[in-house]
């Protein structure tokens, strides 16, 4: 089949508005009469709130409302229902919201925060998840109980266990076994556009929320529940998304600030805008959690993997958001990356008085893959097998049913590995420990949606106007990845029209069909399939309507460049606009409207967490060549190759952007990014001290696209939003080991750690 639009390097539809500064982000929107909300955060990571005096703040001219936990209706939010918009009795972290102000300008609101007097009774805090798990530890939430005896505990009641086969026997049987503990750090999304919203009520108490959320329809549900609690049961909620200045998972939940904006708007009967400052974004948005992973793996004499045994502790922080569910997604790589017959995985999420964790691109997979792929190299070395060969021996293959019951449909892992080896010029590892070395790591991630909710669906509606212009209404959200463009490409290809004739509407819950949100790399696959099927129906409608006028059978017609024509006689034609007019301007007329709700045939995990959570899986391999300075411990990436099995590249340019964007984000995770917490306080809440990579830090980075033509994907595509950063840290750690013979098991791989490891090794050598 000849493709005209799919597979082409087409510029993003929103690029013109973004390169000219016309795109409107939440920061750029203002409404008549709008007030500015500001939030007062806790002074202590753990304390009783004894008394709050807001009298002085209320008297400040320009202040229109001051709210505290005791002046708002009781309401709990979050999937664990452990959080409240404003805290009443106790604060559990320094990001806890204690009071909020709405004022006529942001400076007055800020000044008013300084006038609120809060009397605290400071409590000792608990900041280390391992300490927090111990008997008698300080409790973050005294009312939280767990275990069979229902005893107070900091360990969340989440059943993250996956068992398959017999790990104990396999361990005995194994010729080689390695064990290691790997740890990762807090890192944050650092979206260039900070979090924010504007809440506005109409006269009947229906809420409109202007928002940069990634989950408009789930947020709508959360806010409808909130309105009910706030005395406005049955009212409507409309989410209008502005241009979104980066997501990466940070906007995958609803947050206290949004409920506060809603409450302030209600209290003042005026629109209220809350925009995070950069410092607030660091402190009060929800980052990727640190993990401590004890992993052991074993293999036969020939290098065949026999078992993988993983125990993980996650610092959940003070409240439960989606971060606490990342172990569920980690089950995919832990159970299924490479063929491993026997699996044991247990994860515990632990409350502490730190910030609280959320989704972040990869959803736990980067943490899991860092441990797995570092450990794989240790095992290969123990077995005396080249790590590349070792991976080949154990590589996933099409047709496999994994211990978690993931069905491997297409799998380009071997091709990706070969591409990395060849492009890096890695013909047999150096093994010289000369300061320069190669490292590789593979990845497996959901690539055909992910059934984490009961539905993994997305709706699309397409309509045609009198002039042959198409409006495509999709539930999916574009957070910058380019889904708007890819969806337009799919519709253009299927119907046979120009990209320019397609307008994608993807930002209004009142207009767009339902979708579960921009997560799990699902949008191209799920929203793409939804658009594909809707477009097929639309095409059929157009052909049937045109057939009537042309006196032809629909099966003899085709559409190209917006013209319906007879295949046997291209002179016999009619424009799509004319077809639309013909059905409108007819007695008993009709509309050209097509719709599709696509919910992929993937499975919710069963009670044992087994099931084919995704229709297909994305594979990839990354390789790094590094140079390590023995004097300073500095790791320099000389060359980097990222190869990904993407099914089919619908738009190679945007796809490469996902891969290199993820890759550089992964290099930051590997080398420099670290939220430094001291007793619950973030010590580097700014861009100066939190080390994002800059343009100068980026090494030569080659992206390789491997196409496996996934039969269930739209035009063969798999999801590719997250995988780009999944194997990066492990690839770098493995390269560092190859270069200087030290294995860094704790991210980020800073010069200090490398130097300390080198010194320790030297000492051992003496």
């Amino acid at each position: 089949m000849e493709l005209n639009v799919i597979g082409k390097r087409i510029a993003k539809k929103d690029a013109p508005s973004k390169v000219t500064g016309r795109a409107m982000y939440i920061q750029d929107v203002s409404l008549p009469g709008m007030l500015y909300g500001k939030i007062l955060y806790s002074r202590y990571p753990h304390a009783r709130i004894k008394h709050i005096n807001t009298a002085k703040a209320e008297k400040l001219p320009g202040v229109k409302a001051v709210l505290t936990g005791t002046t708002i209706p009781p309401f709990k939010f979050g999937f664990y229902k452990d959080n409240t918009p404003l805290k009443t009795e106790k604060v559990c972290s320094l990001r806890d919201e204690v009071a909020a102000v709405a004022a006529t300008d942001p400076e007055i609101a800020e000044e008013a925060l300084g006038l609120i007097e809060v009397e605290y009774g400071e409590l000792p805090g608990i900041f280390d998840p391992v300490e927090a798990m111990k008997e008698g530890a300080i409790l973050v939430h005294e009312g939280h109980v767990g275990g069979k005896e229902k005893k107070p505990t900091n360990v969340l009641n989440l059943p993250w266990r996956l068992m398959s086969g017999d790990v104990q026997s396999a361990r005995k049987e194994a010729a080689f076994v390695v064990e290691g503990t790997y740890s990762t750090q807090w890192v944050t999304h650092c979206c260039l556009g900070t979090s924010g919203c504007i809440a506005q009520f109409d006269i009947a108490n229906n809420l409109t929320l202007y928002s940069n959320t990634q989950i408009p329809f789930l947020a709508q549900k959360d806010f409808i529940e909130a309105l009910a609690a706030f005395g406005m049961k049955g009212r409507r909620v409309r989410i209008i998304q502005t241009a979104i200045g980066g997501g990466f998972g940070s906007k995958l939940d609803t947050y206290a600030y949004e409920y506060i904006a809603i409450l302030l708007a209600k209290a003042t009967d005026r629109p209220v805008k809350i925009i995070f400052t950069r410092e607030e974004e660091f402190i009060a948005s929800s980052p990727r959690q640190p993990t401590i992973t004890r992993i052991s793996q074993g293999c036969t004499k020939e290098g065949k993997l026999l078992f993988r045994d993983v125990e993980m502790i996650l610092d959940n922080g003070a409240y439960a958001s989606w971060g606490a569910t990342t172990p569920n997604v980690m089950m995919v790589p832990i159970s299924s990356l490479y063929k491993v017959p026997n699996i044991r995985y247990v994860a515990k999420c632990v409350y502490t008085n730190n910030t609280y964790s959320q989704a972040f691109r990869g959803y736990g997979n980067p943490q899991a893959t860092f441990a797995i792929e570092s450990s794989i190299e240790e095992l290969a070395e123990a077995a005396g097998i080249d790590p590349y060969e070792f991976r080949l021996i154990n590589s996933n293959e099409p047709g496999e049913l994994t211990p978690m019951r993931c069905k491997v449909t297409t799998c380009g892992l071997k091709e990706c590995m070969a591409a990395v080896r060849d492009r890096l010029g890695w013909n047999g590892k150096l093994h010289q420990k000369t300061g320069r070395g190669f490292g590789m790591a593979s990845l497996m991630h959901v690539g055909g949606g992910a059934r984490v909710y009961k539905s993994d669906g997305c709706g699309t509606t397409i309509k045609v106007d009198d002039f042959g212009k198409f409006d495509v209404f999709t539930g999916s959200t574009d957070i910058g990845q380019g889904s708007e463009t890819v969806i337009a490409q799919i519709v253009a290809e299927v119907v046979g029209i120009s990209m320019d004739d397609i307008n994608v509407i993807n930002n209004d819950t009142e207009v767009c069909p339902w979708d579960v949100g921009a997560h799990a790399s699902r949008t191209t696959f799920v929203a793409g399939n939804s658009a594909l099927h809707a477009a097929q129906k639309m095409r059929q409608q157009i052909l049937e309507a045109a057939a009537h006028g042309l006196g032809e059978d629909p099966s003899t017609l085709d559409i190209k460049d917006g013209q319906v024509f007879a295949i046997h006689n291209e002179e016999k034609k009619i424009s799509v606009g004319k077809v639309a007019r013909s059905v409108h301007y007819t007695a008993g007329g009709r509309m050209l409207v097509a719709e599709c709700f696509y919910d992929p045939p993937n499975e919710n995990p069963d009670r044992e967490f087994k099931g084919n959570t995704s229709v297909t899986y994305a594979y990839g391999a990354h390789g790094a060549e590094v140079e390590v300075d023995r004097q300073t411990g500095r790791v320099k990436i000389i060359n980097y190759v990222a190869a990904h099995d993407v099914g089919k590249a619908l738009n190679p340019m945007l796809l490469e952007g996902q891969i290199s964007g993820g890759g550089v984000m992964g290099l930051g995770y590997a080398l420099s990014e670290n939220m430094v917490y001291k007793d619950g306080r973030l010590m580097n809440a700014n861009y100066l001290d939190y080390k994002l990579l800059t343009a100068r830090d980026v090494p030569p980075m080659e992206t390789v696209i491997v196409e496996t033509d996934e039969k269930d994907g739209p035009f063969g595509a798999k999801g590719i939003g997250e995988p780009g950063l999944v194997p990066t840290a492990a690839a770098v750690a493995n390269a560092v080991y190859d270069a200087v013979g030290v294995r860094i098991r704790d991210l980020p791989i800073t010069p200090e750690k490398v130097l300390a490891a080198l010194k320790a090794k030297e000492k051992l050598g003496e």
């Binding site: 973004k18 390169v19 000219t20 500064g21 979206c191 200045g245 980066g246 950069r278 490469e656």
Partner: protein, 154 residues
Amino acid sequence: MKKDITFVLNKEEVSMEVDPRWTLLYLLREVLKLTGTKEGCGYGECGACTVIVDGKAVNSCIFPVMEAEGRNVTTIEGLVSKDGSLHPLQQAFADHGAVQCGFCTPGMIMSAYALVSENADPTDDEIKGSIEGNLCRCTGYVKIFDAIKSAAGR
């Protein structure tokens, strides 16, 4: 408190009263409603607010408004031609996939504009240097670099 200021903004002379405590960014965004220039941090570390003052890229979020007196200021809004056609840099950013979420894009383009305006044939290192003060979280800078390289000299 208020002071008069006269400067050239996107080729047009502007005379107005300002509060000398304002930053140039505040004047642009909040007073003149030129929202193309973004605020990413507010303290000169991310470059989203980059504008051109007398040919040099500056962080407008830490640029005192009175410093603009008598000077020539160009913002992202000033790059588009009167006929609506994009500046070659803007076109290159679109054509090379250098835009994802787009929040850093105006500042990134202005930094590159300062470079290509005075150096028609920049080296790779000069291109990287021109945008090293502009943070981007989406693209990994790879395609931004490609876009600037292709537009330089055009």
